[in-house]
């Protein structure tokens, strides 16, 4: 939104010909291959790209910092007339925190667990000799109030683990402002947050950056988010610049094919097909209540829904809403205290240890992190072959034939990949291996737990297409756990919305996504960022006027 921004013409940061190398396997590899950009005072530049594009590396290089194992090998980074690539450590130290601040992706990991929030805030101020501890305390409380943290006078005296993720991320933004820097680097600051929390943090960041006329580099992989935040957008790929232009122009009229492909990602919709003749539901979770220990409060309360053959049921909700716990009850990892799980008309024993092999075979899982879900010391052949011999007693030639079939089903060349180790595969390929392992067991239901959330959008779409095709071919039912509503729109037949261990709403996708919504579903849906740069402003204003009306009514 360049129109209402008081940007001056003074150039604050000028990066030119920046090359950064990373050390691995005994030699230096170039990971940033000559990137240029300039940033004026008060301007926000969005850096966008998929993983491996070098966004974060470039971001911290703007502070003259190279991550461990990296080095700036060529080019120049000039901040307000100071050349950072040749500046002494002490010179850079004096700039960091005071004039250039950093906001990290995970506030939970980036706050020191041993100190109170307000002490971590004041540390920067005191260490840079900008003010006393008392002044910093007073300023912190004022800033906390400005960004609408609850109990601004007291919240700073809590330890990081005592406040929620969204509050922590806002506290980190406040901390970055402690010395009123000229430039803040935001490194994916909302990626780890739920959508309902994300919008609040985004609004906070935008407000505060505008108020103090701070320049910012906003790093993200989320196009809709960058559309809200940035004046200009720079698209990066493999450490190189693809294109750069004003936000609206970039959204309306991208020039490069790669940018267009990024913009087009959200177009995928699953194949519509006639429903199978209705019989007994494949899976029926009947009034399940469960808790992790008898003494603890239940984490699932009266959960009841059905999954039918060849159907995709999406379970949506924020972190902690009980989505994954529901999967644990279905797979028998957690025994419910009330209710039962009925599969194909037969009640499943609550504990997986009491289930027969045939019962176990019916339900398979695919996880979020393919890296941790497959054994790094086994070849692909053994990873996919295990369910073949375990559930189907398949050995020898039959097994070899089946392995090749499975590899072809997941669109990986069997000759090339069967004898590789997982580490030789990309993230998307590893997730495909996990899919192959799940379908190798010939299940009727696959539980997909956030299977695309660790992947780049283009790769994630490939996975969704694959899952859709397999569903058509094998008549599979999916239970799709996700917090990403775009994925839900793309793939679900029915949607179950969960909040704090309860189902607040369930029904066909069209029903859930069209009004009238349940209050919480409304909040969830309206919080999903849209590509329109004015979206956030609009939503925030709507919410404020609504809450204003409510409080006036009271």
């Amino acid at each position: 939104m360049s129109s209402d921004t008081p940007t001056s013409n003074e150039i604050l940061l000028e990066v030119s010909g920046l090359k950064i190398e990373g050390y691995s396997e005994g030699r230096w590899h170039q990971i940033v291959k000559g990137v240029d950009f300039t940033l004026r005072r008060g301007e926000i530049l969005g850096l966008i790209g998929e993983s491996g594009a070098g966004k974060s590396t470039i971001g911290v290089a703007a502070m003259g910092y190279a991550k461990p194992g990296c080095r700036i090998s060529a080019g120049s980074v000039r901040f307000d007339g100071i050349e950072l690539t040749t500046a002494s450590e002490e010179q850079k130290r004096q700039l960091r925190g005071a004039r250039i601040a950093y906001v990290a992706q995970s506030a939970a990991a980036s706050f020191n667990p041993a100190h109170k929030l307000i002490d971590q805030f004041s540390e920067t101020v005191v260490q840079h000799g900008i003010g006393s501890r008392e002044q910093a305390y007073a300023d912190a409380k004022a800033l906390y109030a400005k960004i609408r943290m609850p109990e601004p006078d007291l919240i700073g005296f809590r330890y990081p683990h005592q406040v929620s993720g969204g509050q922590l991320q806002r506290a980190m933004t406040a901390m970055a402002l402690s010395c009123r820097p000229d430039l803040i680097i935001f490194d994916e600051p909302t990626t780890a947050l739920d959508v309902t929390t994300q919008i609040e943090v985004l609004a906070t960041i935008k407000d505060i950056v505008r108020q103090f006329n701070t320049a910012a580099i906003y790093i993200t992989h989320d196009l809709a988010v960058v559309a809200q935040m940035a004046d200009r957008i720079k698209v990066l790929r493999y450490g190189e610049s693809v294109e750069e232009s004003e936000t609206r122009q970039m959204l309306d009229d991208p020039q490069q094919d790669y940018t267009k492909s990024l913009w087009a990602v959200r177009s995928f919709r699953k194949t519509e097909k006639p429903p199978l003749p209705e019989t007994v539901p494949l899976l029926h979770i009947e009034n399940v209540t469960a808790s992790y220990a008898r003494s603890l409060d239940p984490v699932l309360i009266d959960i009841d829904f059905e999954i039918h053959r060849r159907e995709t049921v999406a379970i949506v909700g924020e972190s902690g809403s009980g989505k994954s716990t529901t999967a644990r009850v279905i797979t028998g990892l957690l025994s419910p205290s009330q209710g039962r799980v009925v599969f194909d008309g037969v009640e499943l024993p609550a504990d997986y240890r009491n289930r027969s092999r045939a019962q176990l075979q019916q339900v398979q899982m695919i996880y979020q992190m393919a890296d941790t879900a497959i054994n790094p010391h086994q070849r692909i052949r053994d990873i996919i072959g295990r369910p073949l011999s375990f559930y189907l007693n398949m050995e020898g030639e039959a097994k070899k034939r089946r392995l090749r079939e499975l590899m072809e089903m997941i669109e990986l060349d069997p000759d090339q990949y069967l004898d590789r180790y997982p580490e030789e595969l990309s993230g998307g390929q590893k997730q495909r291996i996990c899919i192959a392992r799940a379908i190798a067991a010939e299940p009727k239901l696959i539980i997909c737990d956030e299977v695309t959330s660790a992947l780049d959008q283009l790769v994630a779409e490939g996975i969704l297409r694959l899952l859709d095709r397999l569903q058509q071919e094998l008549d599979l039912a999916y239970m799709f756990i996700t917090h990403d509503l775009a994925t839900v729109k793309a793939i679900a037949d029915r949607v179950v919305v969960m909040l704090q261990g309860r189902i607040v709403e369930q029904g066909a996708k069209e029903e859930i996504f069209s009004p009238p919504h349940h209050e919480y579903t409304e909040l969830l849906l309206s919080s999903v960022p849209e590509m329109d740069p004015d979206w956030m402003q609009r939503v925030i204003e709507e919410r404020r006027s609504k809450s204003g009306m409510e409080s006036a009514g009271n």
């Binding site: 911290v60 502070m63 910092y65 991550k67 461990p68 130290r93 004096q94 700039l95 960091r96 925190g97 005071a98 601040a101 950093y102 990290a104 995970s106 990991a109 980036s110 706050f111 020191n112 667990p113 041993a114 100190h115 540390e123 920067t124 260490q127 840079h128 809590r158 330890y159 683990h161 005592q162 901390m175």
Partner: protein, 318 residues
């Protein structure tokens, strides 16, 4: 706080259980040795009648479980029985000896703990530098040398050749504090040399382990100076492993000093134990072993409790 109380209670009861089992093992172990106290007191020439009479007098004719209960019951009231060697109250003898051992251990700890923390923190700060390597080599060499050898080397150079400190640590009840320090200096240094390496290396490792954490990178990007990052940001999160190894070393300083006490003729508990074994003075052996066990278990318990208490998540619950 409730959470911590439960956890502490659990640890303490586990400690008590361990002590109970150890007392059983000590008692059974000693009573399985051939011969008994009555035999030992009266010597080879005694007639079976006199031996039997003495056994009766000492309560040795009772069945094992009764003897165990008597022994344990006595100890719980502070009565360790009487020494067979000189007929004195064991608690009296042990009291002085134990105080001496604690004195030496405390002296050694006062040198070695601050020294190893300092060396460890500096090694973490200047990791992979010449300083770091030198400290590592020196401490590793001193720990790899048997303690009696370290002791004799010290005696040879510091005492015999230079004449700075006495080689005998034969302190007595009336020895003044400063003289005590002077006389126990060499054993304390010996103990320091053989224990610094563990603590220093654990301090270094525990801190370096944390340096890849996001909050350390954050501190760097906030423009905090390196020494402050180590002390203010890494150290508070590294206490649990450091405290553990420090307390284990304290236990070693108290329990493992037998050899050093013998070399320097220091009247501590370790030497008492060695003498008692030579004289087959079983009640004293049992008492010494039990005191060592109690010390060891207590210190480990303290290590556990401290590492719970240094965890901010437990200390400041939601």
């Amino acid at each position: 706080m409730n959470n911590i109380a439960t956890m502490l209670l659990q640890r303490i009861s586990l400690g008590l259980l361990t002590l109970f089992i150890v007392s059983l093992i000590i008692f059974l172990g000693v009573s399985m040795l051939p011969g008994d106290a009555a035999q030992a007191i009266l010597g080879q020439a005694a007639t079976p009648d006199t031996v039997a009479a003495l056994r009766k007098q000492l309560g040795l004719d009772l069945p094992a479980h009764l003897r165990y209960i008597n022994w344990l019951g006595g100890i719980l009231q502070g009565d360790f029985g009487t020494s067979i060697g000189n007929g004195r109250e064991i608690s009296e003898v042990i009291g002085i000896r134990f105080a001496n051992t604690i004195f030496l251990a405390a002296f050694a700890a006062c040198i070695s703990i601050p020294l190893s923390l300092l060396l460890g923190i500096l090694a973490a700060l200047y990791r992979n530098s010449i300083y770091d390597r030198t400290v590592n080599v020196v401490t590793l060499s001193s720990i790899s040398t048997p303690e009696f050898f370290v002791a004799y080397i010290l005696i040879l150079f510091v005492s015999v050749k230079a004449g700075w400190f006495p080689s005998l640590s034969n302190i007595q009840g009336e020895t003044g504090f400063l003289e005590r320090l002077n006389k126990t200096f060499l054993p304390a240094v010996t103990l320091t040399l053989v224990s610094v390496a563990y603590m220093m290396r654990m301090t270094r490792a525990a801190i370096i382990n944390l340096l890849s954490q996001s909050y350390i990178e954050m501190a760097t990007l906030k423009g905090i100076r390196n020494p402050r990052i180590i002390i203010r940001h890494a150290l508070p999160n590294a206490w649990a492993p450091i405290v553990n190894v420090i307390v284990l070393n304290l236990a070693y300083l108290i329990v493992g000093v037998v050899v050093v006490e013998v070399v320097f003729v220091y009247p501590g508990l370790g030497q008492l134990l060695v003498d008692a074994v030579q004289r087959r003075d079983m009640p004293v052996v049992q008492a010494c072993c039990l005191i060592f066990a109690v010390t060891y278990v207590t210190l480990n318990l303290i290590a556990d409790i401290l590492s719970i208490l240094t965890n901010p998540r437990l200390l400041h619950p939601k």
